[in-house]
Amino acid sequence: MSDSVLFDVPGPRAKRLSRIISIVAIVLVAAGLAWLITSLAAPRTTAAGAVQVGMFDASRWDIFLDVQVWRALGRGTLATLQMAGLGAVLALIIGILFSFGRTARSRWIRLPSTVVLEFLRGMPVLLMMLFVLLVFASGPYWAGVSALALYNGAIIGEILRAGIKSLPKGQGEAGLAIGLTPVATRMMIEFPQAFRQMLPIIIAQLVVLLKDTALAYIVSYPELLRVGVNNLSNFYGNRYFFSLFFVVLAIYLLLNLTLSFVARLVARRTGRKVVTDLKIPRRGIFAGTGTTP
């Protein structure tokens, strides 16, 4: 709903007030950031009385001139992406199976898959990782991949089921009417449409999966966080701890924001009709207010 419907078009006074509040807010935020940066940059004294240089001192950042550091970060990123990639593929497969199981006509398939799905959805991914790691002695990579695949598979299964349910009933009926078997109807008629419709949400879930690969840090998989912060700061010295954390955080944000951006792009392309239907009249009526997002 457009927020500009909620109040009158702002007049000169309201506009001025809004501008003043904006400026004050921006100044406050900028002051907070400036305080943060200066206090990080200031030299600090340890409890023992030794003085350390500030966080932005060159001696805390010079390792990034070393190619080996970037190679190690690259290895960590690759390990993270490997886990996310395989996890995503398996999660999609498991999700498809779950969506079929949950919508099956036979109760003997539907009920067990519902129980398993609820179980998987209600459990922390980390606990699943630990379970696979200890019970199957699989090593941290497979523990991470299978836990991520199972958990996100359950979620994707629910997403796909909702997609199938939201289709017009006539789609399935038409498939049956032209003589397709129920399975063929599902595979050839309903599922492709549901998948297309739900693609943005599925990609959003894959962003979650990518983010959750960081959980494998706790089961000591050498992913970006472990390689980038723990291993490198052990090797090069503790004074790089903050800089390394900062860089690893930046890499994670870059990866996730890129994928989120793709998700939004896909959402705009598949949902174009809905979006323009909502947006165009709003733009027209409230073009002058500047409050439309």
């Binding site: 709903m1 959805r121 706790i218 996730n256």
Partner: protein, 215 residues
């Protein structure tokens, strides 16, 4: 099975820790999230952009990284706090943008015509929100909000990786001396998580169905 019953006090302690993480971080995230959501739909441009940047940055940071930052980087920078408090801060910050998005989507979900009708009846901004938009929005916000809290319940387990002895960490310590009963211990812990998450999920589903009929 005896590994679970023998160490039940450890698990109960851990479970209470988990609940207290949920009980503090949940309301905290709700308060911050509501403020962020309000900023996101406010007429002041700067509020909108600040809250958008905050939401995007925090939502795209892995929770592990955030808690790692709270548990290691903040102390490294000289913040002296208990690991429990640091974990609560991390979980609160991490959950707040999800709360904000749930609330915002609820307000956005109220049909445009509702507010237009209220305005055309002559209701003011406050009246429109109080009598027309918010009563409908709150009903629609509750199911996604419950889902956020379910996710938070599960996310508290990550704090167990950073020196907070909650349920997940309790499982790990028990496993260290009862390695023979790993499956029973982990299933026991899973049970504790499920008795929080599954009822919440059922409540969310119920409310969702009710709302769907009403609309």
């Amino acid at each position: 099975m005896d590994a679970v019953t023998e160490n039940l006090p450890v698990f109960i302690d851990g479970f209470l820790r988990t609940l207290s993480l949920l009980g503090i971080a949940g309301p905290g995230a709700f308060v911050i999230g509501t403020i962020v959501a309000a900023m996101r739909i406010s007429p002041v441009a700067a509020f909108r952009s600040i809250s958008t940047v905050y939401t995007e940055l925090v939502r795209n940071t892995p929770l592990t990284l955030l808690l790692f930052g709270c548990a290691f980087v903040l102390p490294y920078l000289g913040v002296r706090l208990d690991f429990y408090v640091l974990a609560v801060i991390g979980l609160t910050v991490y959950t707040s943008p999800f709360v904000a998005e749930a609330i915002r989507s609820g307000v956005n979900g109220v049909a445009l015509g509702q507010a237009e009708a209220a305005r055309s009846l002559g209701l003011g901004f406050g009246q429109t929100l109080r009598f027309i938009v918010l009563p409908q929005a709150i009903r629609m916000v509750i199911p996604p909000l419950i889902n956020v809290f379910i996710a938070l319940t599960k996310n508290t387990s990550v704090a167990g990786g950073f020196f907070v002895i909650e349920l997940f960490a309790a499982a790990r310590t028990v496993i260290q001396f009862r390695g023979d009963a790993v499956i029973a211990i982990l299933l026991g812990v899973a049970f504790f998580y499920l008795i929080v998450t599954i009822p919440l999920g059922i409540i969310a589903g119920r409310i969702e169905k009710k709302v769907a009929v009403l609309r």
